[in-house]
Amino acid sequence: MVDDILRQRLESLNRGPMPICTTALTAPSGSSSFTPPPVERSPQIYSGTIKAAPGLLRSGEVVVTDAGEHLRIRLSIDAIWPNGERLVATRLEHLQDLAAMSEQAIEPTVVLQPDFAALVAALPDRVLLLDLETCGLAGSAVFLVGLLRQIDGVPAIELLIARNYAEEQAILETLWQTVAGHDVLVTFNGKSFDWPMVRDRSTRYRLAARSAAAPMVHLDLLHHARRRWRKQLPDCRLQTLEQLVCRRRRMGDIPGHRIPAAYAEFVRTGFEREMDAILYHNAVDLVTLLDLTLRLAA
């Protein structure tokens, strides 16, 4: 069904000239020279005064790539997870001890699965955690590539943001440049969603040559989490694990299902508050992903 405003506009366009008609009738004058009416801008939807506190988005810097510009935000883990940096360092040490022990032991007490062995070998410098935010399911656009990786010797969150639909290609370009320096990719449900999405969207921009050159180990934590916690937990969604395994709670988070609509609003109106919430949401997801990675590896 066509909505009423659109219908009225279409009605004004539905003026075909007299087409194949054997009878010689005078066509109405000027029927083929229709000029479109001036485009009216719709009034701003938010007229109320909602305070757009200078948030995460404002802290971004513009990155210039061969495929255009996009925004980038870097955050320390501590900004999201108080004391997280120290905790991570301790667990890393522990992990490396474990790995060393299992190598030396003649009868290894701990046998790492191949994926995790690769992970431990690559930690911390050559591991990349990834979580996308998109406009919808398959076929729709990616607007936020959330990464967590070692920057200048410390783990840090790096958000690549398309400020509008035209910047998607640029964030994918930066993603591929970043991927190049890493051996292991860690995601949550990324084998079914995030990574096929990255590939499809890159193919769409004809970035296929780059995607071919990425011989990475892909560790999808969803499967490992299911194996470990399926019996204890009601489900194995990331947020469930965050609450019940990592024992953290989010404040002021935006529910995942509202993210596509919130981004569409942001592109249309430039309204930042919900966008800040999306960035926060993604950053917390990444921190939880890191937390789970270390827990599962141990």
Binding site: E11, N14, M18, P19, C21, T23, L25
Partner: protein, 824 residues
Amino acid sequence: MDVAALIERMQTRADYAGQLAHVEVLPERQGRFAEPRQPLPEALRRLLAARGIEQLYSHQSSALEAARAHHDVVVTTGTASGKTLCYNLPILEAALADPNARALYLFPTKALAQDQLKGLLELVGGDPELAAAIRPGVYDGDTPTAQRRRIRGEANLVLSNPDMLHASVLPYHPKWEALFSNLRFIVVDEVHTYRGILGAHVSAVLRRLIRICEHYGSRPVFLAASATIANPGELAGRLIGREMTVIDDDGSPRGCKYFVLWNPAPLGKDSLARRSASDDAVTWMIEALEAGGQALAFTRTRQAAELIHRYVKEQLAADHSPLADKVRAYRGGYLPNERREIEQELFSGKLRGVAATNALELGIDIGTLDVALLVNYPGTIASSWQQAGRSGRRHDESLAVLLAGNDPVDQYLLRHPEYFFAQSPEHAVVDPNNPYVLAKHLPAAAFELPLDTEQRGDDGGNDLDRFGSLAAPIAGALQDTHQLVNVKGSYYFAGGQNPAVGVSLRHMSDNTFSIVLVKGGSRKGGGGGQVALPTAPDSAGSEMDHAVIANVDAISAPELVYPEAVYLHNGETYLVRELDLAGKVAYVERRETDYYTQAVLESSVRITGQRAESDLVSPTMLAYGDVDVSWQTVAFKKIKFATRENIGLGPVEIPAQNLQTTGVWLAPDDAVRAEMKGAGLRASEGVVGMRNLAVVALPLVAMCDSRDLGGVVDSKNLGQTTMILYDRYPGGLGYSERGFQQMPQLLAICLEMVRDCPCGDGCPSCVGLPNLRPAIHSDPDLARGYPMPNKQATIRLLELLCGKSSAEFGEDSRRPPIGVDAGR
């Protein structure tokens, strides 16, 4: 077979009473052959030789050369002229030369894609070299998920349909990179079916397809094939948006063909009503089979196909003829496996006679038969020749018989055979610029790739311009309604859901109901004619007792499988126990009955809101707005087989179905009516004639097909005789709206058509309804005929209406609708 002897035999039967109205003999035609300039590769020559083809027909050679030269072609030679090879040869040649080369085939139905898959597999199956190089795969709604990835990656010949391309392929084009990067040929088969609503949608889908191909760097050549229509080059050209090379010089040989016009005998001495065409078709079929021929009867409704099959079989069985087991019915709704089986047995000659609906009219390969019986006029000249073309041996004689029904159209054709044989087939009209259709496809296109408005191509147009001159203002309107977002000169789709999913390319939804046979029968048995309907069919037993035997589309399910209906399938009777509307299932059980049932339908068109009123034909009431078309099965009749006695009536309680759309209505005012009354004519008869003309004339103004429109004459809505024309598409597609804006022109065309018609009292070319659409599940012999409307009344009415509007005629019919009425 000896056709002349069969015709003579029919005339020497005891019941012959001069039914033979006309015999036209179409002479034999010699085959013409041509060698391609460059010989075909060895493997292909081997393959053709194995199928007994030593030389190509001239049209096959022309098509091959055109395709090699990267010309887009449309082939429009006759039925069974080897059209399929016209597009398969260049594709197979390309696939042999380049293992990466791909081709996409589009068919209007899933059945045709399956038929072609079978044909391709058989073609290359015996040859290891070809079998390795040619990897066809069907990708449609029935393709199991597990196979989809493999077909996307490995098939080099992908067989699909426009609906699938629209909703499931183009929106996910990155997954199809291998196809789109290497696409060399796109086959558009049965291109004549893409007219009107479907055509407007398909033209948008093809533009989206071309756009994606360009994105991946391919420029495929279009190979189209069409049944005989008046304007194949124009239709395909508009549809695809390219200049087409038309190949219509048929080089295939054709044996001598007899075309008989047969008028069933009058029922009584002075009776105008005649014996049923179906009954005469039974006689013809039996005589043809006994003469050693293979025959096909085409009926206009599914029920008629079932009935003819049943009567032929019964009569042959009564005569202890071994032919009794060699007749079948074939129609939409049969499951794919059953259809394949019938097609194969027909092809192999095992089946001798089939009663079919036009489901067999499209290009499914069943070989050629000796006799085609057209039971009632199929409604169009193009369809008549398409069906008649199903008989026609390469060298032997063949026969087509048109058995006239009681309709005025049929009777007119029988009185004027010269009209029938001289009439050119219909024009097919497609409008790639329909704003309503484009408004549905531009979001889909933007979802696929941003619609760029800045960069100019070689032709000076931008990306958006490929959708026509209206695309820019429509995109603007879509931006204002927040469906598209313009960023730096490109339109982006502003959402995450694939927008193609909610857009149907066809008239209505393609939901289907399953017809499920519950085995074991009813536990109580029917006592005293009362039917015991169990409360829950799934309580009857395990799932083993249930089997799906057929499908029916959701629109006509309430006409076919209402509770207590007798459902006819392959000549056998099944009793419907329950119709589960929510679950889309009808439960039937096998029950021998001596009657079949006929739904009693009620339909109505209700004006629900006026959007605009106009004084273009002032002071006659002319308006445009929303209408609600509804139809409902309210009762059913029990009809005894063979005698057609009505032996009972029962109520049916199922909710009405409806279509909310837009319409235009016109009601002659009192002055016009008074003036007609003065001349001894009835305005209401004139309105009926005008409606019949307008349904034919509106497509000329609105660029659609008559099938896309509905028209009724009604006096309930406005309290006086009113003509209402509406679009057969939910929400409307602007056809009746154009009729509203251009009513004076429309009426002038109607007047010209009826005034210039040389007939005396009206004929199908003017006031008669040329394409009467019976309910497809009814027995046409039970429907009452429609009288030919009064020609003089129609002419006078149109003169009065045109006279009134002539002052303003052509002055400013484009102005925006006056007095937009937001409320009721």
